[in-house]
């Protein structure tokens, strides 16, 4: 790793690494070697980096289909990620998962689901198990604003509050569910809704600021530990790319390019050219090695088709 001189640089490095990994995916995608959908986190990296800077290896994080950023920020290995995207036997899940189902339990990354909202309750259940055994652990579930419209989100908040479970509910609010803006979907306020269940919430408007997010996560995780209560953290963020795929789709008319431009004008990963230049070479070398690992790995065979079914 390059010479890192401050907390800001450390977080910047992690965020830039995620962005460069996804830009490599965009570069590779036309080759059709990644033959499955990718939901890119570009624009949202700071949320993952801010949170994971405060997590320990054995803190469990339940993620979703837009999961590259959290997977990498939590320490998930990069070569196995690319091998998984390539559908190779050396991938995280032997090529059976692909981009939408990332998991690395040794690094506390629990399984991601492509069905929106469906892993929120898993964090609550894991917390219940630890509480029964009297363990001092914290569980985090990450989801988008669309997931908060699912019944399971409401059910999970209620249960976590009712049983005083140490769960951080982290909502990445990018204002879009696939192509639908918030205004077409929600008649409720997240904070007021959580309050109805007796759950405190914190709102961060500047979701590009990983330093601020890191500090807020430290504070919130500490409170969850002390109070043994769930907390909701809502972070406003911005999805720069289309819902699924490597491109942009502003011509479709469901969102304004100006919104993304305004966000980019504040995004350190767009602005800090000095650090980009400083860190890119080392990160690129790591990425190239990971891609090479994926390229040179074998595909699964018929011997793998029916393993791990039961």
């Amino acid at each position: 790793m390059s010479d890192i001189n401050s907390e800001y640089e450390k977080l910047f490095y992690e965020a830039l690494r995620i962005r460069l990994v996804e830009e490599k995916i965009i570069e590779l995608y036309p080759d059709d070697k990644i033959q499955s959908p990718v939901h890119l986190s570009i624009g949202q990296e700071a949320v993952a980096v801010g949170l994971c800077s405060q997590l320990k290896l054995d803190d469990w994080l339940f993620i979703n289909y837009r999961g590259h950023a959290f997977y990498l920020a939590k320490g998930g290995p990069l070569p196995e990620l690319f091998a998984e995207l390539y559908g190779k036997r050396t991938g995280l899940s032997k090529g059976k998962a692909g981009s939408m189902h990332l998991a690395a339990p040794k690094h506390g990354v629990m399984g991601a689901s492509a069905v929106v909202g469906s892993t929120i309750s898993h964090a609550v259940g894991a917390a219940l198990a630890s509480k029964i055994r009297g363990e001092d652990r914290i569980f985090i579930t990450v989801f988008g604003d669309g997931a908060t419209e699912q019944g399971t989100y409401h059910e999970s908040l209620n249960f976590a509050s009712l049983h005083n479970l140490p769960v951080l509910f982290l909502c990445e609010n990018n204002g879009l569910a696939v192509h639908s803006p918030l205004g077409e979907r929600q008649a409720f306020s997240l904070a007021a809704h959580a309050k109805a269940y007796g759950i405190e919430s914190v709102l961060v408007e500047d979701g590009y600021d990983f330093v601020k997010l890191s500090a807020i996560c430290e504070e919130i995780l500490g409170q969850i530990k002390v109070k043994q209560r769930p907390i909701l953290l809502e972070v406003k963020t911005c999805r720069y790319k289309e819902h699924v795929g490597p491109g942009e789709d502003f011509e479709a008319g469901y969102r304004e390019l100006s919104e993304v431009k305004a966000w980019k004008a504040k995004d350190p990963l767009e602005l800090d050219k000095r650090l980009i230049a400083k860190f890119t070479p080392a990160i690129s070398r790591e990425i190239d090695a990971a891609v090479e690992f994926a390229e040179s790995s074998p595909f699964p065979t018929i011997d793998d088709l029916l393993t791990d079914v039961l």
């Binding site: 339940f62 339990p105 399984g111 259940g125």
Partner: protein, 338 residues
């Protein structure tokens, strides 16, 4: 009793609507909440959320047993059950194991109506990654619980027929004859094979007793494992008898009878002396009125009639039918409203 035994294991988490209340899921959970207050948990009416909570608890070392006092309520967990639990091991390439048990109770008769009576074994037997069981008697339920808890690392769905809670039986702990896979011969016979599920095994046994008076010896196969039946056992029995009747608790289209027909047809349909017959619920939602309900479900009379037709080779078999009697009247302990 089976639940009490399960709770002795500190990993067991018994969770579901009604597990702590005074009715205790027909007495199966009574008193356990007092003994194990942290691990016997009453739930909000949030089936989907609770099923996901069970997956999370299982990932974190517990053995959740999630109860549904009607299988119909279990429909609300199909996202977690089918999209998540059934796939959790495969989809992540074997990174995770999620041992857990879902108990789904099938209601029947005494006006249970359209939403308290359904029997979804074929829906779930269709899904790779699930073990789906239909125990045919209380002892089989207990043995299956024990086996699932001790030996299986994935999700098991148990469809328990409510009528069985009323039956008396003797548990033989050292005879774990039934596991999660395979089927068993309930009774041997030569003239036809009756493959039956759940309470239809009991009805088939009554029918076989009756038929024996008329010189017909039925072989009964208790299918037991819906997801993993013993194909060889079924095929060899039908090869011996040449005749197959399937008696299931659910609807016929795309169901257990269709699957049994596939087993025979794909291997060697020439072993059949007669076309296969099948019995199940009529193709309608379950009606509430008792007169309609008695017409709706297959019973011992239908099994006798279908068996006699198969063996005699004609619909007009000339064997008198036993008197028509509702199953709940015969297994007479049951009365409503629960």
């Amino acid at each position: 009793m089976a639940m009490a035994e399960a709770m002795e294991d500190p990993r067991t988490l018994l969770i579901g609507q009604g597990v702590t209340d005074f009715k205790g899921i027909w007495g199966t959970t009574t008193g356990l909440a007092q003994k194990f207050p942290k691990r016997v948990i009453e739930t909000p009416l949030s089936e989907d959320g609770v099923a996901g909570i069970c997956i999370g608890a299982s990932l974190n070392g517990m053995y959740p047993i999630n109860t549904h006092i009607r299988a119909d309520f279990g429909l609300l967990i199909f996202n977690q059950l089918i999209n998540l639990a059934a796939k959790y091991r495969y989809m992540f390439g074997g990174l995770f194991e999620i041992p857990m048990l879902f108990r789904m109770v099938i209601g029947r008769s005494w006006g249970q109506g359209a939403q308290h009576s359904q029997s979804f074994q074929s829906l779930l037997g269709h899904i790779p990654g699930l073990v789906v069981l239909m125990p045919s008697n209380p002892q089989s339920i207990i043995q299956s619980y024990r086996h699932a808890r001790k030996n299986h690392k994935g999700p098991v769905v148990m469809f328990e027929h409510r009528l069985m809670y009323e039956l008396e039986f003797e548990d033989k702990p050292n005879q774990d004859l039934l596991n999660l896979f395979g089927s068993r011969i309930d009774r041997e016979g030569d003239h036809l094979t009756i493959v039956a599920t759940s309470v239809m095994v009991l009805e088939a046994a009554r029918a076989a007793d009756y038929l024996s008076q008329y010189g017909i010896n039925a072989e009964i196969i208790d299918l037991h494992s819906i997801s993993h039946p013993d194909h060889d056992l079924i095929f060899n029995s039908v090869k011996k008898t040449g005749r197959l009747l399937v008696a299931d608790t659910s609807w016929l289209p795309y169901g257990v009878a269709a699957e049994m027909s596939r087993v025979i047809a794909e291997r060697d349909p020439s072993i059949l002396k007669r076309p296969i017959k099948s019995l199940g619920m009529q193709s309608a939602p379950c009606p509430t009125a008792k007169t309609l309900e008695d017409l709706y479900y297959p019973d011992v009379c239908d099994i006798v009639s279908a068996s006699a037709s198969l063996v005699k080779g004609r619909e007009n078999h000339n064997i008198p039918l036993p008197p028509k009697q509702a199953m709940t009247d015969f297994y007479k302990h049951f009365k409503g409203p629960f």
